[in-house]
Amino acid sequence: MDSQNTFWKSAVKNGLLAGAIGLYSTLVGLVQAFNKRAVIEQLSLGHITLLLSWGVVAYVFLNHHRESESKGKLIAAGALVGGLGAFLVALLPMTAQWVDYHFVFVHAGPEMYSLLTFGKGPWLGSAMLVAVGALWGILIALVVSLPTFWRDSVVKAFLITITVGLLSDLFTGMTIGWMFQPFLGVEGLNILGAVLVFGLSIAYDYWSAHRKPKESAEAVATEPTGVTKSQLRRMVVGALALVVVAGLPLLLGSYLSHVLNMVGLYTIMGLGLNIVVGYAGLLDLGYVAFFALGAYTMGLLTSTGPLGIAHWTFWEAVPFSILVAMVAGILLGVPVLRMRGDYLAIVTLGFGEIIRILALSNWLKPLIGGAQGILLIPKPPLFGFKIQTPIHFYYLILVGIGIAAFVAYRLRESRLGRAWMAMREDEDVAEAMGIDLVVTKLTAFAFGASFSGLAGAIFASYVGSIFPHSFNLLISINVLSLIIVGGVGSMPGVFVGSLALVGLPELLREFAEYRMLIYGLSLIAMMLLKPEGFWPEPIRKRELREEVGD
């Protein structure tokens, strides 16, 4: 009897939690902003946000009690959690006639209320919302009580369908977009497309589950003959990837190439910060400073405007951009040689701010333009041809990434790279082993900064004009977030991270306003759930798992 009580009590608690999260996403404006994007027919991302905020709570709760409670009770509890969650959100439109929420919450207003109540007025609409919540809870309970394989497969298929629906713009933007037309609505997938994606995902799961005994990943690794086979396969995959990467902008068109360019620039920066944070374990929050220095050096050396001092070409200026950033990295490194962890983070953050403040100040205005920035930065010439459009720049940035990745890779495998990692693990032990901490730290700062300088130089030339406002702290945080999401210390992780954190928000215009919110939440979520990142370095993963575990 007692455990019965606690079950229902905790169901009510979870219902309240679901409601709180629902209210949060509504009041912050996520639901409303995302409502502008249809995912499947009329179902918008706003609806999905609301459904997910109840659904995740209900799913976690029900899953926890999956073994111990009967199916009927799970369904009832699901209806309770979903209904209660929806009821709390429905309180908003119901009480709106007496309380002026708009005075405090900017997003609360008729538009939001009508969205929440399906345009059916506060009472009928709210009842409908609660009914939807309860039904959704029941649906989740039904999914939870499926056998494990089917449960996971359905959840995965659901998430994949949403993702595909969300990114369906990608398909229409492509040059071969017409091929996907039958499955797309005005925006997002149509019903046929959704069912197809859902079905394909489940079919794939079923297929891969039943094919497993034949050839598993471990078998390939242990079999001596399998090695050459896997090597061959890797080479083929590599060659294919190269062809795809080289042909991508032609396939994607100008806008998507621009998005990829931003991803690329952040990848270069990420590779650099990865050296500082990932290899050497020095948390640098002022990384944007070197990006700014690289960009300003490029601007000053090449600009054809009044502030230009040398009128060089891009190619002549790039080495100097990198050099200036590198020297700045060393200069910053000296005062912080003795600082560790938290102090280092704050001081580097301060350094980043100082650079921005100086760039903005009237004091240096005659030299670098103050708030007006540097204009008229020419595009890089190449054998009589001008690198101009985003598609051209794509290749330039690709070369940049290639060089950066090569250098980063060789550095990691070098004696210096091992010294960095030893220092990351334990400074005192590393010093006792004969590692010169000063040299090791300064080189980490210098190399990290030089990558950022390169990215800054390309950026300046790409956008053509630079302003102090483009170099705020948020860039440092973006870069840090992306290497953490990808996996600290992991090179492919950098690319995965920048694709997820830079590419996705560029594609989802509605995200723009909530980009930083999503970054913040994803930083917390990553640290809580997957501290090693999406594409971790094997050693790092083991470490973090162990330390978090005990």
């Binding site: 949060y24 009041l27 912050v28 404006g29 996520l30 005075f103 405090v104 919450f105 900017v106 997003h107 374990g281 948390l283 929050l285 000296v334 005062p335 040689l337 003795r338 600082m339 560790r340 962890g341 938290d342 102090y343 983070a345 704050i346 001081v347 953050l349 301060g350 350094f351 701010e353 100082i354 403040i357 100086l358 903005l360 100040s361 009237n362 004091w363 000063v438 702290l473 945080i477 840090l480 977030s481 953490i484 306003e513 909530y514 930083m516 919110l517 970054y519 913040g520 939440l521 994803s522 930083l523 917390i524 640290m527 809580l528 501290p531 470490e543 973090l544 330390e547 978090v548 005990d550």
Partner: protein
Amino acid sequence: MSEKIKYFLERLSWVDIMVWLFGLAILVIAVIGVIGSIHNAYYTKEQWMDFVVFGISQGGVYALIALGYTLVYGILFMINFAHGDIFMAGAFTGYFLAAKLNQYGIYNSHPIISLLLIMLLAMVTSVVVALITERVAYRPLRKAPRLVPLITAIGASFTIEYTFRGLYGSGVEAYPDMKIFVGKTSVFGLRILKVHLLVIILSILLMAGLYAYVQYTKAGKAMRAVAEDKDVASLMGVDVDRVIVNTFILGAALAGIAGVLYALIFKQVHFFMGFIPGIKAFTAAVVGGIGNVPGAMLGGFILGIFEALGPGLILEGLGIPASYQLKDVIAFTLLVLVLIFRPTGLMGERLSEEKV
């Protein structure tokens, strides 16, 4: 004596020399600036006094925020990066009550009650935000490697900022003027803005209260015990989780009040307002010696005064125009100097090496 010097010279490495030279160079530049300013006499004596008073009142706000950093750092050894945003949450929420009260005329007819109500609301908001942050983002990671909670704290900071941007909008709101605090008054023959006087008095009272709480109550004793050694404190029957929650509540409540005081001085509130004061307050905590309660207070006032005097006294003397734009540079430079010459802060005891 000579033994000592010999020992010192043996232990001296070129890194220290390099770092000290770097620090000394900054100091020399600062001294040149001061000499230049005094020589040129840009400001009158009264203006200098105004700067100092302004610095003290702003320093009081910094000190109140710095206490939150120091308390949490003393116990968890983590920088609660989101503390500046907890301060913002209080100030921003308080604005809506202030605006409503002003609308009904209560704001000026009962200013003291209004102010207390606003502060109460700000405190409650800040405490709620801090507790949610602690519960969701910090508590599960207490045993994780040090970098992990710092990153979550950065994440929490941005989450709070942009949550409030979503809730309250991205505009800049202005606290209405409270008539009894408009204008100047004179204390000991010193002309001083009434708002500044209020802020200075309130912040000193609060700090004294906090010091008494930490030093003389049982809860304060538990707090100090946990700061000393969590495991031993736990063996002695102290509920460590409870104490940590208490610490967050205390820090957040002070930050909430500091938010209202800050808004009274500068009038404006917006979602990003917590970032710079947060970093400054952390700087203040480090200057005073992080983990040390009186140190944070001292550090706050020192930083406030430095920041108020610095641009006029040092930068103008160097011939830098529009020097007020660079006052944040002064604060960060002070931080670097303190960390170079006295990493434990002015009042810090043992620390840096073993705890950091």
